[in-house]
């Protein structure tokens, strides 16, 4: 069964460093998302992406964040200058048709900023 994959599973970085989190969505899906989940808190929407551009973004997704689909298969989230409060699980999800359809989540990347 097709699934969303994410790499790395765990990333440790120092405050102020740039990180890139990678995702491979399900191949025939059209919409892609990034979410984060701070330990013990709820899942928070960051951004949705369709047709090579951002569709929606939350107030969390500020200028420090960017997304890209560089090669038609990978979907990346870049954090330019990490802060301690960026430590969280980051989940990628894909959606076959967008809108009210379901999302399929990857296993997540645990980002630890020290």
């Amino acid at each position: 069964e097709p699934e969303v994959t994410q790499t790395p599973s765990h990333q440790v970085t120092q405050m102020g460093q740039e990180v890139i989190l990678r995702c491979v969505p399900i191949s025939n899906h059209l919409y892609f998302y990034w979410y984060r989940q701070i330990l013990g808190q709820k899942v928070e929407f960051l951004v949705s992406f369709y047709n090579n551009e951002i569709s929606e973004k939350s107030e969390i997704f500020d200028d420090q964040f960017s997304v890209e689909r560089p090669d038609g298969s990978n979907f990346t989230l870049k954090i330019r200058s990490t802060k301690l409060e960026d430590s969280a699980m980051y989940f990628c999800a894909s959606n076959p048709l967008g809108g009210t359809y379901e999302q399929y989540f990857g296993p997540g990347t645990r980002l630890t900023v020290t």
Partner: protein, 110 residues
């Protein structure tokens, strides 16, 4: 920001008991998804409901979307230890933004 409140936050029951988890909001959603999440893993989709009043069944799980599309419930019949996990509701809003609920942590004791 549209808020989804889930209740109860924690639930511990004996195997074989029935339970209901609620997901409430003051906002209207175009769809409502229920997910289950294991520790350290991503949410796994259980069901999507899109029509007010809609009821869907998945084996021992029954999902209902409120008539006004502001709330939803998940009912589990004869709970089993394998049902243990974090249950999340998520509302689909305009465009492609989804809002997650606060979660209900269920423990089923054998």
């Amino acid at each position: 920001t549209q808020l989804l409140e889930q209740s109860p936050q924690f639930l511990s029951i004996q195997e074989g008991e029935n339970l209901t988890v609620y997901c409430n909001s003051s906002s209207v959603f175009s769809s409502l998804q229920w997910y289950r999440q294991e520790p350290g893993e991503g949410p796994v989709l259980l069901v999507t409901v899109v029509t007010g009043g809609e009821v869907k069944k998945l084996k021992r799980l029954t999902f209902q979307f409120g008539d006004a599309r502001k709330d939803s419930s998940l009912h589990i019949t004869a709970a089993q230890p394998g049902d243990t996990g974090l249950y999340l509701c998520a509302g689909g809003a305009t465009g492609n933004q989804f809002y997650f609920g606060t979660g209900t942590s269920l423990t089923v004791i054998p």
